[in-house]
């Protein structure tokens, strides 16, 4: 009984702590928001399980401790049908909840833009240790390391990602967007994001393209700064570049 | 001087334990061949180039299947203590095995011209046949050791598992080829 009480108490405290904390800042895309929500939900589900384990261990160590040199046996309870049964049911239920939402639903949410026409398509190519970008239909490409990847806000942006043929696997990751896809030689992968937030590498370090798959010597330096701007500003920038 | 080596086996005789061990190893090796076969589709799809020598592939298959029969007869003879038949059959098996190795050598010679290892299909062909022919070579070597051991004795006695094991290994190599052959030659 005491143990159950401690468990409930711990769980409530931990859940409140979780909800009041801002774990990772706001995501800058719609998809990123789904992912963050999924993360929070999984945390909320995991906390009671974890507090249960902690409570049990703590309680047992204090309550059922038997010191002294004499060996004393406990009552031989080998199993308990109801406990095993309800444990199985509860873990299965939890698993099913996790599988359906955020698992299945989350995947559907991430894929819901697949059929739509993208506002902007960017072809990304990785090579050691640099990214290059080509705005499809805009006659602008970025290559140099100091360039900034400029993207419009409030748009559906589709990235086609690949790596050069004789190169190695990279991974295209923008932490602020929560999106990541590998750049594999000979294979084109794609990823959609709906940008929702204006931001800049100089203000938030997560506005950067970072290689996330170990690719050799300068792996940690293989990044590009990202700037998300208003669509009008973006078009202006494109026009300036083309000129 | 042999000091007491724990010899356990309360209820299982050594022959059964050895058999079990060999079977477990074959299971493990089969897992390796499954990995090999599964990589074929990744590297060169399901297409088979026209230049591949179908006659050679079929002859190799027939050769290996026939050698399985002689290996089988060697084992049956060993169980029935028919030493001379066993020895003949072991020799025949080894002979066909060596012929098979030469066949694969010729296959490689042709393959080097049409699909060298630097092409997708060449990669698959050389890897599959290479790993397989290594197994064949081990089989020939094992049969050779067994032949060397049994060539002078009158009854099979404790050497039964040596014959049986070598023959089982040979059959296993054959089973592997049963799957490698269609994978390399017959897929479209």
């Amino acid at each position: 009984m005491t143990a159950a009480l401690i468990w409930v108490l711990l769980t409530v405290v931990a859940e409140f702590a979780l909800l009041s904390l801002n774990l990772f800042g706001d995501a800058a895309t719609k998809q990123g928001q789904f992912i963050d929500d999924a993360f929070i939900l999984l945390m909320a589900l995991a906390i009671p399980v974890f507090t249960f384990v902690v409570t049990m261990i703590g309680y047992v160590v204090i309550k059922f401790r038997a010191d002294g040199d004499e060996l004393e046996d406990a009552a031989p309870v080998r199993t308990h049908k109801k406990w095993v049964g309800s444990w199985l049911i509860w873990t299965t239920l939890l698993t099913i909840v996790v599988i359906i939402y955020p698992g299945y639903v989350g995947v559907q949410e991430l894929r819901e833009t697949h059929e739509e026409e993208a506002d902007l398509t960017v072809n990304v190519t990785g090579r050691r240790w640099q990214w290059s970008y080509e705005y499809e239909g805009r006659a602008v490409s970025l290559f140099a390391k100091d360039d900034m990847l400029i993207l419009p806000n409030d748009s559906l942006i589709r990235f086609y990602v690949t790596s050069e043929d004789q190169d190695v696997i990279h991974s295209f990751w923008i932490p602020a967007f929560r999106m990541k896809i590998d750049a594999v030689p000979g294979l084109t992968t794609k990823f959609d994001v709906n940008t929702t937030k204006i931001g800049n590498f100089n203000d938030d370090v997560n506005f950067r393209v970072q290689c996330a798959e170990l690719c050799g010597r300068d792996h940690s330096l293989m990044f590009t700064r990202v700037k998300v701007v208003e669509p009008a500003e973006f078009e202006q920038w494109i026009a300036d570049q083309a000129a | 001087m042999t000091i007491h080596v724990p010899n356990v086996n309360h209820r299982f005789d050594p022959l059964t334990i050895n058999r079990l061990g060999l079977w477990l190893f074959l299971v493990s090796d089969a897992s390796f061949f499954i990995a090999l076969l599964s990589s074929r589709v990744f590297v060169s799809g399901t297409s088979t180039p026209d230049e591949i020598n179908q006659v050679l592939g079929l002859s190799l298959t027939v050769l290996l299947l026939l050698s399985s029969l002689t290996a089988y007869r060697a084992e049956v003879a060993a169980e029935n203590n028919d030493m001379s038949h066993m020895k003949n059959m072991l020799l025949a098996t080894m002979g066909m095995g060596i012929l098979f190795v030469f066949g694969v050598g010729y296959e490689w010679y042709e393959a080097l011209q049409h699909f060298p290892p630097s092409t997708g299909f060449g990669t698959v062909l050389f890897t599959l046949t290479g790993v397989h022919v290594t197994h064949v070579a081990t089989g020939i070597l094992t049969l050779g050791f067994v032949y060397f051991r049994v060539r002078k004795i009158e009854t099979i006695g404790d050497n039964l598992f040596a014959v049986e094991g070598a023959v089982k290994w040979w059959h296993f190599v054959d089973v592997a080829w049963v799957f490698i052959y269609p994978t390399l030659y017959l897929l479209k």
């Binding site: - | 477990l24 630097s118 997708g120």
Partner: protein
């Protein structure tokens, strides 16, 4: 001097293999280096094995000659090809303890580099090599310490056998491990390897010669793992003491059986993965490069082994943990049969979940949901193991000795490790977390927090049996407290950089993440120092600790019913098993009888005759 002979034979072997290869490359005009190393190594390892004693004990038999086997002797019996499973167990444990400490030192080097965001301790290449070496050496320890070390020592004892089913194969599986260690330690001299322990091509196929040594080492280690698994399966099936039915088998034996099944079959896949890289390097094949090849092939093949491999690591750890908990709680294992079923379920599921490592790899999108579902299902059998651990300690008479403290820490740590695993099995959250420090913290919680703590629990638990002496309880508690607290600080904090956007395997990172990394580094250094009391305790107690009684814990399993350390044949009188090993608080359950009482009078089922 078997070791010296082994080295000399290995050198001769390398010379022979290398010259053959040189002859061939001379004719074809290819580059001579890599073929020479591969062929030379193959011959060298045969020479090494023959040199350390395999020729005398085994090789002569192939040529119809008589063999000599003498597993007895003083300390020098540990330095040769020895078929006694207890000797092999100690050989494994000693070797892996050294590897563990070396890899731990490497980790401290890494944390020194990561304490601030710039590049100061290592150059970029040496950082990558250090990180990769730390990874592969720890993986080797994790795979072999329980499966090679404790299983070898304890398994035959715990099931009442005199030895494993194939003692010579057992010795072989140990003696290929030293070359693995030597090869890995040599890699920095050959340009190192910068691709992590996962060795993804094409990076791995383009790495310097050090990469080739890594692949050969991994391949060799795989052979050891396969032969070990084969041996344990055969041992458990054929060598159990009379009367030891499956229902009476200690849970540790069950867990070893489960892990052995994985190690027998899945390890072949990583062997093939390594072979593909070697082939691509030596024969210029195109498994992975674009015209023809496909880089994802390796990822599939590799994770088909490497995901089940974590169950090779963790299942025996669970077995040891439950075993220890039951004996120190003095209560039967709760829901024993359900635990066995859970092991079976984990083994079955472990083969069909590998692609959750590939959610962001660009594999077919339709694969994501099935693999996510299958992966999440593993949490159900894992939950059973938690239920069993918690159910066993509930209303028990807990004796808080060091082994139990570590075993309870496993429950705590693995709760965190397992729950964070759900985030990584979920496609959506995995897209954000893949390849970040979240993953690093997660697998350190499962493997170090789960398995390593269980290894230390097992180490303290079986120390009296192995050495015949008692360790120092106070030092053990100090070690536990330091390790548990510092470990949790290190890796709990490490989750944070992962969630806020720091990727793994980098030497430099944005300065914004500096504060949390500094905390991790400081705690990690403390964690490293926490092993000092352990080292001192183990060495000192082994040399001059008080003599241990045969059964210091009052445990009922068979290994405690013989002398400490056990004689060569394990039991002076072979046991007959008459009941299950967890009969605490129940007078009617007697696990085993020794001596004249014949099996029939105990109504032991005569099974498997």
């Amino acid at each position: 001097m078997p070791l010296v002979r082994g080295v000399i034979y290995a050198a001769i072997g390398f010379a022979i293999g290398g010259s053959i290869s040189l002859g061939i490359t001379n004719m074809t005009g290819e580059d001579y280096k890599e073929p020479m190393i591969v062929l030379g190594y193959v011959f060298a390892i045969i020479g090494w094995l023959m040199g350390v004693g395999m020729w005398k004990i085994w090789g002569r038999e192939w040529f119809g000659k008589s063999t000599v086997n003498d597993p007895t002797g003083g300390w020098e019996r540990y330095l040769k090809f020895n078929t006694d499973h207890k000797v092999i167990g100690i050989q494994y444990l000693a070797t892996l303890a050294v590897v563990f400490l070396l890899a731990g030192l490497l980790a401290m080097g890494l944390r020194a580099e990561l304490a601030d965001s710039g590049q100061n301790v290592f150059t970029k290449n040496t950082y990558n090599t250090t990180m990769s070496l730390h990874g592969i050496m720890m993986i080797a320890v994790a795979v072999a310490a329980v499966m090679g070390g404790f299983s070898n020592y304890v398994l035959p004892l715990i099931i009442g056998a005199e030895d494993v089913a194939f003692p010579r194969i057992n010795a072989l599986s140990f003696w290929v491990v030293p070359p693995v260690v030597v090869l890995l330690l040599l890699t920095p001299l050959f340009g190192g390897f910068d691709f992590g322990w996962t060795a993804y091509p094409p990076l791995a196929t383009q790495a310097p010669i050090g990469g080739l040594l890594f692949e050969l080492a991994f391949l060799t280690f795989g052979i050891s793992s396969i032969l070990g698994g084969l041996n344990f399966i055969a041992t458990i099936i054929t060598q159990r003491a009379p009367g030891m039915t499956w229902g009476r088998m200690p849970i540790f034996a069950w867990s070893v059986l489960a892990a052995s099944i994985i190690s027998l079959t899945a390890t072949q896949w990583v062997a093939y993965g390594m072979l593909m890289i070697i082939f691509e390097r030596v024969f210029n094949m195109v498994f992975f490069s674009p015209p023809g090849g496909n880089a994802l092939l390796y990822e599939h093949i590799f994770w088909f082994y490497s995901h089940p491999a974590v169950y090779i690591m963790i299942l025996p750890a669970f077995g040891a943990e439950l075993e220890i908990i039951s004996h120190f709680a003095r209560k039967p294992i709760f829901a024993y049969r359900w635990v066995v079923r859970a092991f079976a379920a984990i083994v079955a599921l472990s083969f069909v979940v590998w692609a959750h490592h590939l959610f962001t790899s660009g594999m077919g999108e339709e694969l994501a949901v099935p693999f996510m579902v299958l992966t999440e299902l593993i949490s159900i059998p894992t939950g059973i193991i938690f239920l069993s651990a918690l159910g066993t300690v509930w209303r028990s008479k807990l004796r808080l000795k060091v082994p139990l403290l570590f075993a309870l820490a496993v429950v705590f740590n693995f709760a965190i490790g397992g729950l964070t695993g759900i985030f990584l099995a979920d496609v959506a959250t995995d897209i954000a977390l893949q390849d970040t420090y979240f993953v690093v913290a997660h697998f350190h919680y499962t493997i170090m927090g789960g398995e390593m703590f269980a290894i230390f629990a097992a180490g303290y638990y079986w120390f009296p049996k192995i050495t015949g002496r008692m360790y120092n309880e106070t030092l053990g508690r100090i070690h536990f407290a330091l390790m548990f607290i510092l470990y949790n600080i290190t890796f709990l904090v490490m989750f944070i950089p992962g969630t806020v956007g720091m990727n793994r395997r980098v030497a430099e990172y944005p300065p914004e993440f500096e504060a949390m990394n500094l905390i991790v580094s400081i705690a990690a250094f403390g964690l490293g120092l926490s092993f000092l009391p352990w080292i001192y305790n183990m060495l000192n107690s082994w040399i001059r600790g008080p003599k241990a009684p045969d059964n210091p814990w009052g445990a009922k399993t068979l290994e405690w019913q013989t002398s400490s350390p056990p004689p060569l044949e394990n039991f002076k009188v072979m046991p007959t098993v008459t009941g299950d090993p967890y009969g605490y608080g129940d007078e009617s359950v007697v696990h085993a009888r020794f001596g004249k009482s014949s099996p029939s009078s105990q109504a032991a089922p005569a099974e498997g005759d």
